[in-house]
Symmetry: C2
Subunit: 202 residues, 2 copies
Amino acid sequence: MTQVTYRGTRRSDAQEQQTHAIIRAAVDEFTRAGIRQASMESIAADAGVSRSTVYRRFPSKDELLAQVVRHLQMRFVTEIGQRVAGLDPRATVVEAFSLAVTGVRQNRLITQILADGAESTGILLGQQGGGLTELVDTFSGGIVTTLRAAGACMPDDEIKQAAEIQFRLVVSLLMSESTTVDVHDDASVRAFAEKFLAPMIW
Amino acid sequence: MTQVTYRGTRRSDAQEQQTHAIIRAAVDEFTRAGIRQASMESIAADAGVSRSTVYRRFPSKDELLAQVVRHLQMRFVTEIGQRVAGLDPRATVVEAFSLAVTGVRQNRLITQILADGAESTGILLGQQGGGLTELVDTFSGGIVTTLRAAGACMPDDEIKQAAEIQFRLVVSLLMSESTTVDVHDDASVRAFAEKFLAPMIW
């Protein structure tokens, strides 16, 4: 029994390592070659696995891209979490919003995804899987947790709605640039967040 | 000279009437049959023009749909303008936002467009033509004008950004439902606008 579990665990660890290696290789290949030109063969070679292993884990390039996007999202969430440590609720809003708007745009892979057109952007925005509503829920929930940790004490239904406004604006500004907020300029995005978003939180 | 101008004007008037008849017929046909099933032949017959006249004005069903969408948008803008007449700036925000969110959803043609999938939704959101940025600019500009007429005296750059937030949220809530604001319930949408959007305006 113990041995089987041990073996099972080892096999599962090895599989997980392979999956991580594939995702890392995919991030590099998608960034370098663009979404359309990216080659599943190159990704397999870079990850040190066979082509069939890649296809067993990710039956299509879109499914691999969806996984890469989830990986990217988690990395951004971690980075935002680190940046807002110790800030008060309103400063948290400003810091997190500016990082989400300008930081995401500075990411070269996200630029590739947006340049690839509607289908890849749909994957970025969760249209594969649960759709945008689920994406909004997941990320708004994360924002609520962060704001509560920073000391926000406003009622639950209000903080959820305020967090949702923040996330919907991030997505909207990612989908189409603004002529009133310079989404490439951190100071402009911060001023916007300070003026309109921070006052919603208490 | 006079006669030529007169003839030119008459011809142009007749053409405009035909275009209006085609758009009216298209609104009916798209609403009744759905976007995909809608027949350009039926639209021509209903409008009392030949099939070739329809195609001369609108070379594809997508171009006709784009024109129908512009027609719908203008109708909503007019309706909102009538509803907010005499209201103060903050009441204007609440009234206009609730009408834009719940009213648009109650429109059967818009429901058909959203149900038809990404391409038709793209036309609804201005991806044909200038894109979402232009749509945001156009409509935010309209909101600014309305708010100024209602007496808003905040600085220009601020009112533009506030108007843009309002319009981006309308689009976002149209694209994906919310689990914190009931977009089908006028009272819920109004409470949301009163809490978060009205305080931005002064």
